[in-house]
Subunit: 468 residues, 2 copies
Amino acid sequence: MVNHPEGILAVARAARLASTLLQSVTTEHKAEALLRIRQVLEERRDQVFEANLLDKQHAEPLVAQETLSSSLFARLDLTGGTKYATILTGITDIISLPDPNNRVTLATRLDDGLDLYRVSCPVGVLLTIFEARPEVVVNISCLALKSSNAVILKGGKEATHTNAVLADAIREALGSLPEGNPIPKDAVQIVETREEISALLDLDRYIDLVVPRGSNSLVKFIQNNTRIPVLGHADGLCSIYVDKNADVEKAVRVITDSKTSYPAACNSVETLLLHESLLADPSIVLHRVAASLFERSVHLRCDPTTHAALAHLFPATSPLASLFSVSTPADYDTEFLALTMAVRAVGSVEEAVAHVNEHGSKHTDAIVTEDAAIADYFLTSVDAAGVYLNASTRFADGFRYGFGAEVGVSTNKTHARGPVGLEGLVIYKYRIYGNGHATTDYSGSGPDTRTYLHQTIPEAEYKVGRRG
Amino acid sequence: MVNHPEGILAVARAARLASTLLQSVTTEHKAEALLRIRQVLEERRDQVFEANLLDKQHAEPLVAQETLSSSLFARLDLTGGTKYATILTGITDIISLPDPNNRVTLATRLDDGLDLYRVSCPVGVLLTIFEARPEVVVNISCLALKSSNAVILKGGKEATHTNAVLADAIREALGSLPEGNPIPKDAVQIVETREEISALLDLDRYIDLVVPRGSNSLVKFIQNNTRIPVLGHADGLCSIYVDKNADVEKAVRVITDSKTSYPAACNSVETLLLHESLLADPSIVLHRVAASLFERSVHLRCDPTTHAALAHLFPATSPLASLFSVSTPADYDTEFLALTMAVRAVGSVEEAVAHVNEHGSKHTDAIVTEDAAIADYFLTSVDAAGVYLNASTRFADGFRYGFGAEVGVSTNKTHARGPVGLEGLVIYKYRIYGNGHATTDYSGSGPDTRTYLHQTIPEAEYKVGRRG
């Protein structure tokens, strides 16, 4: 653990050195290290729980003073139910995932004896900055190791003791690997003070990728204060458009699940766009959707058109009339993360796409329709990491996608987008295997000038890696 | 053409709008547009040459005053030899490349009727900032269109007239497409004044990727002044390590080509690392390599060990003694871009890797050796976009790699690395095709709880795109 900004450079250098050693580590050695981490964390369970108790004791008065939210406090706890067991199982799951490195994605014979390969390899050094939720220490450390990256962790101050004990256990595990396993202790490092964040964000020479996990303001601060690429998302403003040819049952199911199954999640829906034809009297779609949402205490903030239609269905005398109100323009740019949703009528799928591209956060957006051409237009034209037809936005999740483990969800337009598994933590390098080849042999127009073959190399002849 | 910073926001918004239209454009419509561009550029040849003459007339006094380098002046010219014809042929080449969009790289059946696809799609809006070399206007516009991206171009002031005529021709071509072709004129826009760069670099809301083409200082300025991802490289500090088991002929060929075939290129070698055993008397490798380089007027800046060995081979009385001198530490961090090279002795491949990872620019590095294990260690542990065995660093080039066209060479550790073709201008989105599916059906442990299938979808059943 490092507590002084002047130590930060040493931490970053040690991470870079560890990263070089990790470049050539085998899948087997990584599995051995991850198993050892699981073992030490199992042995240290009581110590982790003691530290966690201490953190919770410190946090309790903050919750009472309302300087710490009760949801953050809840996420701090590691001792309840099967939480710790789930963390340990997560390590086993990561071990069983395929190694993302050493996959050949391009193999071209440039000439006889001159072969080009594009091979996946680790990004290098990761920096994870996260709030509360101390299991991130274990989860991200294991994902980093599995993908052969070194990682520097910076946790929230509420979980200082828990984070420190978890990181110590991981480092002890790496320090006690059988002889011959080259994974160094410094593959995982933790830093503690807030001042160190700025120092770390400046070290683009040593750190290759920042993975923030936490509030919108934390992520925005990081995005605005570093030249290092940042993988993740600040906002999760998802929208659903219900087309005039929507199936009413599908609309009810998709919207209800998207809004109410976990309103605080980034993949919950925040804006509902309705084709204006659905507002005509009697509006079965509007009635059914609103009734389902009202039943689950969802409050709708509606533009004048949809408000009028709702007021017709649920007059002022109705006990449900308190669950909808007229929206303000800001509502369409708000990630409520609560049982509140902005509603707007649109005249066409084009207008819906324009609204989503202007107000959404490029996370996940859905259309409900039975019209294949309109669906294709929406799915093609909406610029988001996830575009869904007749399915809940809450499917935007690495486990649901079948990735096994998730670093987070990215709304970036480069590198990794959407739910990010191990693949988001690797890049590639080009390898050329030659035999003394020079480029000048291929230039000019003399009789001896060689020409490039540019033939695909059969997998059986690969000099490195495996098809992937 | 826009000349006022207040117009920049309008340019960026128009580009974003064009980008939305480009999302659904077909390969055929793109080919039609590119052909039309070629046709209009052919028709406007005289006008382009006139503008180019004007730019050259303005630039001549700057060359005389030494405020413009003669190499920049040479790159400004479009009228000489087959240059203009080559630009036109380049368009035909881009037409014939495969469309990088709509490729499915993951297709998973999550459940019956619930299918997940990862499909390549355009990044969105590109910003290219470049110096002199006006053919970049044509090249990047065509690569952007081929990959369905909108592009904003900002050229160097030396080529203002040529750039404007070229961009006008391209926009006229897009404005005169047959009815039914949806590609808008604003898919390609050009801005002219330097003040606009800062304004554009701030518009991360509208611009998705910056592709700078130019000097180290231009690229560094851009990297340090925007939150938008930057694709490219500032430095090209490539190294070659000659191992103790190197073949002398291969060493001579690889080093000579890497250093002398085009010294001003980013993929030319700048540092030569020699295993110390190669310096023992009589050093055939050192002698042969040095002789080949001296013959081509390469100046070597050597550490004391290699300097002493060279002084032994080429005593002060030799006419070649003036071609080597003792290096300073800064020489190992210098991209000479000239017939000068830093030379250093190292004790092992580990030391060579440490030097390259510390001083190199992660562009392209090579090893010359006959030892497969040492080669593998070097290729695995050197953290660079290109790592070569017994081949010239100058192979680092999109055309030589067989990519057909090149946006530039990236030393990024995320998104696209190495020579970047059309693939670097696309990202992907996840599409889900459902049937009213809700996530709550898959949570809990009741008898009706569904489980995810996570099966690969056969290509014949794809609802979108093609395997790629």
